[in-house]
């Protein structure tokens, strides 16, 4: 089985994200970029499946700027077999990304598509679901455990009420949650090997996907600053203050 894994280049989760001066976006200059952490978990899961013999090829795909090659190279160093970058310097919104992935799916014909449940930059949590609908295949989202037998994926989903076990027929779209696995460390010799693995860069336009702007971002603003607390001298003063706030 071939597994297709989608990854996105995002600002690293350790970085304190700041709104830029004119509110048109966030500061990206000099900021560390990484694979979206959920996508990294998806890559790891695909590699473990391959190591267990559940899959024979892992292809990683990304849509993004030329620099997203770095993240694809990291995925190759983790152990993916090949990578494709559909280069676009413009923001790709969820529906456009899902349509683009559908075109990739049609070309690659994978038995499974693994994605992160959401990207930590826009937190949309839409692409996996949209892709499944467009592809007309089953989906298992927020997955924290995954097994395979006879063309069926048994998935444990993290839902509000706890855990939900479902079975989906393959091919399917699976989006992964944090607890599924802990991604491996990249090893130095594998970084060398990754340099020789195939990484294709294609123009996004080649996918023939329309990118209607469905969401318009008008302004970015930091959350309001928290006001410092006040100290009160006595219990009475505290009760008074709480009453004034309407809490008591």
């Amino acid at each position: 089985m071939k597994i297709l894994v989608g990854i996105k280049r995002v600002i690293d989760y350790n970085v304190r994200v700041q709104v830029n001066r004119d509110g048109s976006g966030v500061v990206k200059e000099g900021v560390k970029m990484s694979i979206n952490p959920f996508d990294e978990i998806a890559v790891e899961e695909a590699l473990r499946m391959k190591e267990r013999g559940d899959a024979n090829e892992v292809v990683v795909v990304s849509i993004g700027p030329e620099a997203a090659q770095q993240q694809l190279r990291t995925a190759l160093a983790m152990g993916a077999d090949r990578a494709v970058l559909y280069q676009s310097d413009e923001e790709v919104q969820p529906l456009a990304a899902a349509r683009a992935l559908l075109a990739v799916v049609e070309a690659e014909d994978p038995g499974l598509v693994l994605l992160g449940k959401q990207a930590i930059d826009d937190d949309s949590n839409q692409v996996g679901q949209m892709l499944a609908a467009l592809w007309n295949r089953p989906q298992a989202t927020f997955v924290s455990a995954l097994e395979f037998s006879d063309g069926v994926a048994k998935a444990t989903r993290e839902v509000d009420a706890g855990l939900e076990n479902i079975e989906v027929e393959l091919p399917a779209v699976v989006t992964v949650d944090l607890r599924l696995n802990e991604p491996r460390f990249v090893k130095m010799p594998d970084i060398m090997k990754a340099k020789r693995k195939p990484l294709e860069i294609k123009p996004f336009a080649e996918l023939g996907v329309e990118m209607p702007v469905q969401l318009e971002t008008t302004l970015h603003e930091p959350p309001p600053k928290r006001q410092g607390g006040v100290k009160v001298d006595s219990v009475q003063a505290l009760v008074e203050a709480l009453k004034n706030k309407g809490v008591l």
């Binding site: 690293d12 350790n14 970085v15 000099g30 990249v186 090893k187 130095m188």
Partner: protein, 553 residues
């Protein structure tokens, strides 16, 4: 090295040249080596998560050596690159400031204010395009040494292990994701770790490279990048200061560089030879920001990023021998910074390029030390060798001596010795005997309003991160001293000199005070390894990719 780890099977990778450290010295060396010897196999290790992540520098750069290294840099300048404008040198008192004549070394016409981390990223890309293997996220952990006595030589470095878990032992135990560090074997290893490199420290001791040098001395520098309300800046303006909030006996001063887009770099450097164990360098920097001049500039602005790093201040007389069999020290790993100029980047570039040229010409580290000292970089250090040690007698004597040395261009017939920083703190007993002098802080502001509120808040702007489960990378050889001897003699200065509050004395379960090490705050500045008065703190690299992620610093 524990036995347990001795059993671990490790990959071995062979190179002609292994460079430890992706700063200006290491990258310049890598680029020049590859230019001179295109067939050479070269790898460069960097402990930060990416090139530039651990780079922090003033930095008003003299462009000459970079022009030599990568002439095209001007066509594609780094993210922050502002031509130097007017220079100002000021003396601060608590409420006022006075303009002094700018010392000639501090004239910056033709120089550039740059974000060195961004420049390093570009240099790394250039190095990679030439065929250098660049490995960010892989610290050099142990030097690989073979032979004994006169035959002893460096044969490479062992990279740090990944996925170790703390288990109470210093080295920890392999966790589920454990990945053993690779052994890099190289014909020549180049230590380009910057100030107080952990491998360099071991090798200097092992090969007694500092036999003929006076002790290396250090400064601790802080830097913040601020975004200000429109209209307050004069792009290119360069201000340096001495005086308040430091007292006459303490060496140090501020820098303020006006950038484009209403941004400034503001920073403070303190000589780590300060004597008062109650002194907090971090607090001194924050005090400086609350001087009326600075407060007026900064109020209403926002910090984008911040960090701290030590710098080598010992100069020529403290420069260890830069060569040993199988390896070279380059840049601030040796200590090539020019203190009166407050510049090290051009010197680091020079020493890296010179090392490459020397290796290409002779094939051996031997002779590099002499070549460096005879080079433009070495001559530059000779000229200014007596200026920083002259401040040992305080600010005014230091300034007078600096003026003399400058007029004579270093042709004074003497060379002033340097003194080790760890030995400079005055014990409480001695302070009491001297009639306990007023702490510097008596002349400081009680209330501060500008961010960061405290050291923990400042960590937030350094984007620092360490996997919490790993063994503590700040090794304190004997923690029983902390609550007893050190508390009595010095009052635990580690709780104040650390710029990010790694060291804390807390009440233990038995009700007594004990040391708590908040290792995950560490920004890899190395101040503790230098200033601890018992020399029992050993800074070792944590898991690769840990530490700060500096943003345009």
């Amino acid at each position: 090295m524990s036995e347990q780890q001795g059993d671990i099977e490790r990959d071995v990778m062979e190179y002609d040249y292994a460079i430890v450290g992706g700063g200006p010295a290491g990258l310049a060396c890598a680029i020049r080596l590859k230019e001179k010897m295109p067939a050479a196999e070269i790898c460069l290790l960097e402990k930060g998560s990416e090139i530039g992540a651990h780079i922090l520098s003033g930095c008003v750069m003299e462009p000459g050596p970079l022009d030599e290294l990568m002439p095209a840099w001007r066509d594609n300048p780094p993210a922050i690159c502002v031509p130097a404008g007017r220079d100002e040198f000021r003396l601060y008192t608590r409420a006022r400031s006075f303009r002094l004549p700018t010392p000639p070394q501090m004239h910056n016409a033709g120089n550039y204010i740059v974000a060195l981390g961004e420049l390093c990223k570009q240099l790394a890309e250039h190095a990679e395009s030439l065929g250098v293997e660049v490995f960010p996220g892989f610290p050099g952990r142990h030097p690989l040494i073979e032979g004994e006595g006169a035959d002893m030589r460096v044969v490479g470095v062992r990279c740090g292990d990944m996925g170790l878990e703390a288990d109470g032992t210093p080295e920890g135990r392999p966790g589920p994701a454990f990945a053993a560090g690779v052994d890099i074997r190289a014909k020549t290893t180049l230590l380009a770790e910057g100030c107080r490199g952990s491998l360099s420290k071991q090798l200097i001791a092992r090969f007694k490279l500092d036999r003929d040098a006076t002790p290396q001395t250090y400064g601790l520098g802080f830097k913040e990048l601020w975004q200000l309300p429109a209209g307050r800046t004069t792009p290119g303006l360069i201000q340096h200061s001495v005086g308040w909030p430091l007292d006459n006996a303490t060496y140090g001063g501020s820098f303020l560089y006006h950038l484009d887009e209403d941004r400034v770099y503001i920073g403070f450097v303190v000589g780590l030879d300060y004597e008062d164990p109650r002194f907090s360098p971090f607090e001194a920097f924050q005090q400086f920001k609350h001087h009326p001049d600075m407060r007026a500039l900064l109020e209403g602005g926002e910090i984008i990023s911040s960090g701290a790093r030590t710098i080598s201040e010992g100069g020529l007389q403290a420069l260890p021998r830069m060569e040993m069999p199988g390896a070279l020290l380059i840049g601030d790993a040796a200590g090539t910074l020019n203190v009166p100029k407050i510049k090290g980047v051009h010197q680091a570039f020079r020493s890296g390029m010179l090392a490459a040229e020397h290796l290409a010409a002779s094939g051996t580290p031997e002779g590099y030390d002499a070549a460096f000292r005879a080079s433009a970089a070495g001559r530059e250090l000779h000229k200014v060798r007596n200026i920083r040690p002259g401040f040992h007698g305080g600010l005014w004597l230091g300034m007078a001596n600096a003026a003399l040395e400058t007029v004579l261009a270093g042709r004074t017939p003497w060379t002033l010795a340097t003194h080790a920083d760890w030995d400079s703190l005055e014990t409480r007993a001695s302070a009491r005997a001297h009639g306990e002098q007023a702490a510097m802080a008596a002349n400081w502001h009680q209330e501060r309003s500008l961010p960061p509120r405290d050291r923990l808040a400042s960590v937030y702007f350094a984007n620092t991160a360490h996997e919490e489960s790993q063994p503590v990378h700040l090794r304190v050889a004997d923690t029983s001293i902390c609550a007893t001897r050190c508390a009595e003699e010095f009052g635990n200065p580690c709780t104040r000199f650390c710029p990010v509050g790694v060291y804390e004395m807390v009440t233990g379960e038995d009700g007594g005070l004990q040391l708590q090490i908040n290792a995950s705050n560490c920004v890899h500045c190395k101040a503790c390894d230098i200033k601890d008065p018992y020399l029992i703190i050993d800074w070792v690299p944590p898991e690769g990719g840990s530490g700060p992620n500096y943003q345009t610093l």
